[in-house]
């Protein structure tokens, strides 16, 4: 009787060892798979070259637009405090966009998940926070700028777009941060639905281009105000 009981205990022991063995293998394989998945890199050489050229061209437009105003030679009737304010704020934005830290991302050819995440963080800090919130939104809340022509037309448009741009990347950020957890993506999923590196990168650059378009629009308005068009 004792022998049978001990045999049963032994069988249960082997059954549990098998379960632990299975779980261990599962965890080990998922860890290796996850490790390999995160090492994925994508070639962005041509996309980055096009993006860089695009950004430089938009920056040039903004620079040309804001250079039409010079306080010492300006003879128009508009509030010079408002004009100075807009010029300084737009120049700060141009400086942030042109910064080495931002531009260096477009020199990379191989983009990994960490590069995408770092780009997002730099973009959030430098462009969305320092430019859109601290400069552009603050600029449109200033009393001096409010006296400029067509302010009432452009302000709601800028506010709406800026708010949208500031919040629209939060899901990309969440997705990237969630990649630290084990997840079960497949090549099919990656090719057809959402590739966390490629698609997040395109989303961030898309948002970046939209921000630049908004700045170009503001600078166009500024040019019209200064030249009295």
């Amino acid at each position: 009787m004792k022998k049978i009981l001990l045999d049963y205990i032994n069988i249960i022991g082997y059954a549990f060892t098998g379960l632990i063995f299975g779980l261990t293998f599962f965890l080990l394989f998922i860890n290796f798979y996850h490790f390999e998945e995160l090492k994925y890199e994508t070639d962005m050489t041509s996309f980055n070259a096009t993006t860089k050229a695009d950004i430089e061209s938009k920056l040039q437009t903004i620079k040309n637009n804001i250079s039409v105003y010079d306080q010492s030679t300006y003879t128009g009737n508009n509030n010079i405090y408002g004009l100075n304010n807009v010029k300084i704020k737009l120049e700060s934005c141009v400086e942030a966009i042109e910064s080495e830290e931002m531009m260096n991302y477009f020199n990379d050819n191989e983009i990994s998940i960490l590069d995408t995440y770092n780009l997002l963080r730099t973009y959030n800090n430098k462009i969305l926070n320092n430019c859109l919130v601290m400069q552009v939104k603050a600029m449109f809340n200033s009393a001096a700028v409010a006296t400029l022509p067509n302010y009432n037309i452009i302000k709601p448009y800028v506010d709406l777009n800026a708010d949208m741009l500031i919040t629209s990347l939060s899901y990309v950020e969440n997705n990237l941060e969630n990649s630290d957890h084990f997840y079960y993506t497949t090549s099919n999923n990656k090719n057809n639905f959402f590739n966390i590196v490629d698609d997040s990168y395109y989303e961030i650059i898309g948002n970046y281009q939209d921000t630049l378009d908004l700045l170009v629009l503001i600078s166009d308005w500024y040019r019209t105000v200064v030249t009295g068009g």
Binding site: Y14, F21, T24, N31, L38, E177, D180
Partner: protein
Amino acid sequence: MKKIFNGLFYILKFILLIAAFGLTLFILIRMNTRLSKSMVSIIPELIPYVLLLIVFIINMLFKQEGVTKNLFYNLTCSLALFTIAFACYRAMFDSNLVLATKYGYNIDFNFFDNFIAYIKILIYGLIFVNILFMFKYKEKKQVTD
């Protein structure tokens, strides 16, 4: 052959237990330092390691062959402890884990935190199985004239 493998995994499980324990302790201390929490709170996470070490020592002292000569158990132990050590290694050194860099600690506490539950399941499981294998029927020696 079986004897050689068994001997290998038997030694390996001790080495891996020390490695897994050391890595877990290091990460937990860093986690608590970061949050300025009392070190007492890490004790429950370390109890399974201590219990596993105690049962290993009991196996060794009482020469419990049901465990010490059980190749499957020793292999599972080595694999489980290797998996834990590998997860700890990744939390510390896998540079592609994005949250490792976010707060400037260079350890992905988020990733490790997910793994704590698995560590407990694996180690408590190994302790339970070890206790089951301790009981082995011993044939009585027949006295012949």
